[in-house]
């Protein structure tokens, strides 16, 4: 398995800021976890950054991994493309421990990936990022006419919808017939 430590660069500067507090109370070392997407590239992310994701936060709370165990068992997100996971990890790092601003200027710029990003963020349950992503999708049709919206959001016409529904019904019928035939064959 290939491994990168994407999260370390953003996690490292956090240490000096917490240093003065250590004089008063013993500093709790920041724990790191590891995630990988479809491309198997492992990203090291701090627990603080991962708190944005309700899904991962829940996993961390339940598993109670040590540093060693976490390194040995990266969280696998096989349904998320590597570059999308990278964007999500970057956003989580940038917003670690900060209140999220009403307008986020750190949103991923590659809008071609917006669809996959929305699905990934929804799956990972990152509420603030999901809100920003939804706003980005909405911004695409700002002030547009119905025809422009249809084109930008790739909305099928009613005729296309009807044809697709017919096709789906036909397919479902064929599959049901196939299953009945197979069941009859098994019975024989």
């Amino acid at each position: 398995m290939s491994s990168t430590e994407q999260g370390t660069s953003s996690a490292a500067p956090a240490e000096p800021t917490t240093a003065p507090e250590s004089a008063a109370a013993p500093e709790v070392p920041e724990s790191f976890y590891y995630v990988h997407g479809k491309d198997k590239v492992v990203h090291k992310v701090s627990a603080g950054a991962l708190q944005h994701s309700a899904l991962i936060h829940g996993m961390i709370s339940n598993l109670g991994y040590t540093e060693e165990q976490a390194k040995a068992n990266p969280f696998p997100f096989e349904n998320i493309d590597g570059d999308i996971l990278q964007m999500v990890v970057d956003w989580c790092n940038q917003h670690k421990g900060k209140p999220t601003p009403p307008e986020d200027t750190n949103l991923p710029k590659q809008k071609e990936k917006l669809f996959d990003l929305v699905l990934a963020v929804n799956y990972l349950e990152i509420k603030e990022l999901l809100t920003y992503c939804c706003k980005q999708v909405a911004m695409m049709v700002k002030g547009k006419s119905p025809e422009e919206i249809r084109e930008i959001w790739m909305i099928p016409t009613d005729a296309e919808d009807e044809a697709a529904e017919k096709e789906a019904k036909k397919r479902a019928g064929k599959e049901a017939a196939g299953e009945t035939a197979a069941a009859a064959g098994d019975a024989k």
Binding site: T131, C134, V137, M140, V141, G143, S145, P146, W153, P156
Partner: protein, 398 residues
């Protein structure tokens, strides 16, 4: 247009709804026009709408009031043919105007959309099907309308209120017929009517309307009203402005009310505009009225023990447009900081040059509407509402 595409329909419905919730209202309407499935998704959003006013003016339009923002649709029709176009015809195009009030600034965005292959009636039905609104109103400006109104009931949603307005001194037979058609179409199902200078005739009189068990009836400038007309008004609330009822007729009406007529009536406002305080003696003669409050409020009782209160209002004080202009100038200088809304009823259409003189008012995109700003940067709009008597509205926006 941008080349960027987004497969919106591949999003799960909950995410699609999240996106739609961030759209402006006119964009939600635009999306709903893209397909039947889009309309269905928009309907499931359940967006509430404060008030929807369908105005049948020179061209039909619909005004949607969402509180902080409004959307207006104006449909332009083709008048090249011999016959007037009707609501079943497809408009040439659709002008959409979205107005938003944000941090004391009014933002207006105009758009032109294609007709989407829908007739005016279908447009109205489509828009009204999207939102949760209990208050649909329709105003018919007879005489100004450049189209025919047919199959009315089918084109409109369930209306709560209807206004019929005549602004011409000598309406044509055709216009009178139109007004009667509207009344015939909606009297069975609408409970609140406002009739402004409507020339009713013998075959369709106030009495016909009065018998329709209305919740509320407002009649402005009725022609030759009679006591019989008043007695047949079976409405809960009734307003008659600029009437020619004599005090003797009103006295007779109250006497008959005491004997048990008009039991459904809960409120009657009669505005005489004589400019003088009415003679109480004539009005109250034989009513055994008991007086309260400095002799302006009287109580009478009918045969079944119901009490009625007669209030005599003194309306002799009148503001001129110059007075109002001075009030607005003082507001601009910082006076009346708590004032949010001022509504002044008039008798004639205001002369805007007098009213707005020296106010540096800016015209908005809506018809006869202006904005002014005071020394603290607070914005207010001044407009005229013809839905009652010509009314000047002054509304502070923040």
């Amino acid at each position: 247009m941008t080349n960027l595409r987004f497969p919106f329909r591949r999003l799960p419905d909950d995410l699609g709804l999240m996106v739609l919730k961030t759209l402006e209202h006119h964009e939600i309407i635009a999306y709903s026009l893209t397909s039947k499935k889009a309309l269905s998704l928009v309907q499931s959003l359940g967006v509430s709408l404060g008030n929807a006013q369908i105005r049948m003016n020179d061209w039909p339009n619909i005004y949607l009031d969402f509180g902080n923002n409004t959307v207006q649709f104006n449909w332009t029709m083709d008048v090249n043919g011999e016959d007037l176009p009707d609501l079943d015809e497809i408009p040439i195009d659709v002008d959409v105007s979205a107005q938003k009030i944000d941090d004391s600034t009014v933002h207006i965005e105009p758009f032109t959309w294609s007709n989407q292959g829908k007739s005016i009636g279908e447009w109205i039905q489509h828009i009204c099907s999207i939102f949760l609104c209990e208050l649909y109103e329709a105003d018919f400006h007879i005489g100004n309308m450049r189209y025919d109104v047919q199959s009315l009931r089918n084109a409109f949603p369930k209306l709560r209120k209807i206004g019929i307005y005549f602004f011409t001194a000598e309406p044509s037979e055709h216009d009178i017929q139109r007004a009667q058609n509207i009344l015939r179409a909606f009297l069975p199902c609408v409970k609140h009517f406002r009739l402004y200078r409507v020339p009713l005739q013998e075959d369709f009189s106030i009495q016909h309307i009065g018998m329709a068990n209305l919740k509320e009836l407002e009649i402005y400038y009725p022609r030759n009203p009679k006591l019989e007309d008043l007695l047949t008004l079976n409405a809960e609330r009734c307003t008659i402005l600029e009437n020619q009822f004599s005090l003797r007729v009103l006295n007779r009406f109250f006497k008959l009310w005491k004997k048990g007529s008009n039991r459904k009536l809960k409120h009657l406002l009669v505005h005489g505009n004589n400019g003088i305080i009415p003679s109480k003696d004539v009005l109250l003669k034989g009513l055994q009225a008991e007086g309260e409050m400095r002799g302006t409020v009287y109580t009478i009782k009918n045969c079944v023990g119901m009490c009625g209160r007669i209030t005599i209002l003194d309306n002799t004080r009148q503001f001129s447009l110059r007075d109002l202009n001075r009030v607005f100038k003082l507001w601009k200088k910082g006076s009346f900081p708590k004032l949010k809304n001022l509504m002044v009823l008039g008798e004639t259409i205001p002369d805007w040059s007098v009213l707005l003189k020296g106010l540096q008012a800016e015209e908005t995109e809506r018809e006869i509407e202006y904005t002014i700003r005071n020394c603290y940067g607070i914005l207010a709009k001044i407009n005229t509402d013809f839905t009652t008597l010509p009314t000047i509205n002054f509304l502070v926006l923040n």
